[in-house]
């Protein structure tokens, strides 16, 4: 795990900042703001943390979670969207912003990377916070300010009881991450959905992003969904069982080879399957070997 120290206690007046690319596994999870989580859902598995005072939605960045590599074999970024918190790394807010950027920021304690330091002086010649530092601070403040609204929307998902933990392989090392159980969410009544959106649509945006982005999640950590129900494979079976059926279950009927349901139609995780037919976004690169967490 990465430890953070107050920026004021950092011994040097300037720090060669380390690109987050070198530390994605150690970082593990970055919070997302309300204007970026939909975009991030195309590139990262999204998850919710419940271990703090309020629920937080973020992007999972570690190789133990992501299906595709964010870093190319040569160490360069593959071009995924980079969330504000990742761009700001190794800086983050220590708590609610007060307006004093030197006091509000803390910095990750990581060894210097001799290969590609990116220098930002903390202060300009007059001793005031530098422009580079202020830009990072503003971004982190905006991120912080959107957390309250997002927490209220995430609370609705908690109350609706649609969040389930990921099947992580090392629960002792990490806090639990939660995603939406699609089958539970799909059972929401119209009145429930109306109530969830009475003041804002955000809870639906979040629930959908948390499902949609599971296509970016490694299969071995996807949640174990409780029901074994899969999309019914024909209309009469669906009606007899009282199940809603997905449109995707009809398309195998048009297979010129056979009229029988195919393995694809029976896949319980239809969302991930739909996304996996074609690569979405930047091409998947040859995965770099995972780096040891510092």
């Amino acid at each position: 795990m990465i430890t953070y120290v107050p920026l004021t206690q950092w011994p040097a007046p300037a720090l060669p900042l380390h690109p987050a690319v070198a530390h994605l596994d150690a970082i593990g999870f970055v919070p997302l703001g309300d204007s970026e989580f939909l975009l991030a859902a195309h590139y990262y598995p999204l998850a919710v943390r419940l271990d703090g005072p309020a629920p937080v939605i973020g992007a999972l960045t570690g190789r133990d979670m992501t299906v595709r590599s964010l870093i190319a074999a040569d160490g360069h970024w593959t071009g995924a969207y980079m969330p504000v918190a990742l761009r700001a790394f190794p800086l983050r807010l220590s708590g609610a912003p007060t307006g004093d950027c030197m006091r509000d920021l803390e910095i990750a304690r990581i060894p210097p990377d001799a290969v590609k330091p990116r220098g930002i002086k903390f202060k300009d010649e007059a001793g005031a916070p530098s422009k580079g530092l202020l830009a990072i601070y503003e971004g982190l403040k905006t991120l912080w300010q959107s957390q309250e609204r997002l927490a209220a929307a995430l609370d609705l998902l908690l109350v609706a009881d649609v969040l389930v933990p990921l099947a992580t392989t090392s629960p002792a090392k990490r806090p639990a991450f939660y995603v939406v159980d699609r089958q539970r969410f799909a059972k929401s009544s119209n009145h429930m959905l109306e109530a969830m959106t009475r003041y804002a649509f955000t809870s639906i945006d979040l629930a959908t992003a948390l499902t949609f982005s599971q296509a970016q999640l490694r299969a071995d950590v996807r949640p174990h969904v409780t029901t074994a129900a899969t999309a019914a494979t024909n209309l009469s079976t669906a009606e007899a069982a009282g199940q809603p059926y997905g449109f995707d279950s009809i398309l195998p009927w048009l297979d010129t080879s056979e009229l029988f349901p195919t393995a694809w139609a029976n896949h319980p995780d239809a969302w991930a399957e739909a996304a996996s037919i074609l690569p979405a976004g930047p091409a998947v690169s040859v995965p770099a070997s995972p780096r040891r967490a510092d």
Binding site: F185, S189, T208, A275
Partner: protein, 259 residues
């Protein structure tokens, strides 16, 4: 657009042969195709999903490319039969034009688009056998239309409700100077961004439930594919200049930039 010359499915037209949907140029190339709300899930990670406005009617569509000549589609998507939207899977069979509007659901009235299969992959199939029985390909595609008809009707109802509540705003999909061309897909509309932080959408979900909730959220997610779609168009135009296809009224029209 997808359809060239719809005619009722009866009489002499029944003697024609049909081919795999991919044998038809419009199926491969049409850059704006209507979908059901239920299909949004499978396309949101690949294509922007929006509504195309025609007079006062809003039709849910995907934008597969900014180019109308078949280029600029995501790699391999045009040749993947399982990935085609329902209307393409059923092609050349189709609904009576305007059929799946609210209140006009009559599954027995089928039409066929009279178009040449310019790239047949096999000998095709008759539409019907001499004794009048539909061939398997015919029966499958008509069955798909029949099953999808109520989904198209529901999709149209959701669009109607969004429109009634003034929840759409125009989405000008217009780019200038892309390798010397102006790219434009006209008459596209999206859910109003500033409705999201209000309760304006709650009445839509009250009436249409999870289908509308999924659709609106997936539509919003899908718009982030626009940048990649632009990159695909740019790469296609850089590889070879546009064909002589003239600018037209249809969506996906492309005009050479006046320099």
């Amino acid at each position: 657009m997808l359809y060239e010359r719809p005619v009722p499915l009866k009489g002499d037209v029944l003697k024609q042969r049909i081919f795999s949907p991919l044998a038809y140029e419009n199926v491969r190339n049409a850059n704006v195709i209507a979908i059901t709300a239920q299909e949004a899930m499978r396309y949101a990670s690949h294509f922007p999903i929006a509504w195309h406005r025609h007079e006062n009617r809003f039709e849910l569509i995907i934008v597969r490319s900014l180019l109308a000549d078949g280029r600029g589609h995501p790699a391999a998507s045009q040749s993947a039969l399982p990935f085609l939207p329902a209307l393409c899977r059923a092609y050349p069979f189709m609904y009576e034009p305007g059929m799946y509007q609210p209140g006009r659901h009559e599954p027995s009235r089928h039409f066929i688009d009279v178009a040449v299969a310019d790239a047949p992959t096999d000998v095709g199939s008759p539409i019907c056998f001499p004794d009048g029985r539909p061939a398997k390909a015919t029966a499958q595609r008509i069955a798909l239309l029949d099953i999808a008809a109520p989904m198209f009707a529901e999709t149209a109802q959701i669009a109607g409700r969004l429109s009634e509540l003034a929840l759409f705003e125009a989405w000008p999909l217009h780019f200038e100077n892309i390798e010397g061309y102006t790219l434009d897909v006209a008459d596209l509309w999206i859910v109003k961004q500033d409705a999201i932080s209000t309760g304006a959408l709650a009445p839509v979900l009250r009436r249409h439930g999870i289908v509308a909730a999924d659709l609106i959220a997936l539509h919003r997610l899908s718009l982030f594919r626009t940048g990649i779609m632009l990159a695909n168009a740019r790469a296609a135009l850089r590889a070879a200049p546009a064909s002589s296809a003239p600018a037209s009224e249809a969506p996906g029209a492309m005009a050479e930039q006046q320099s």
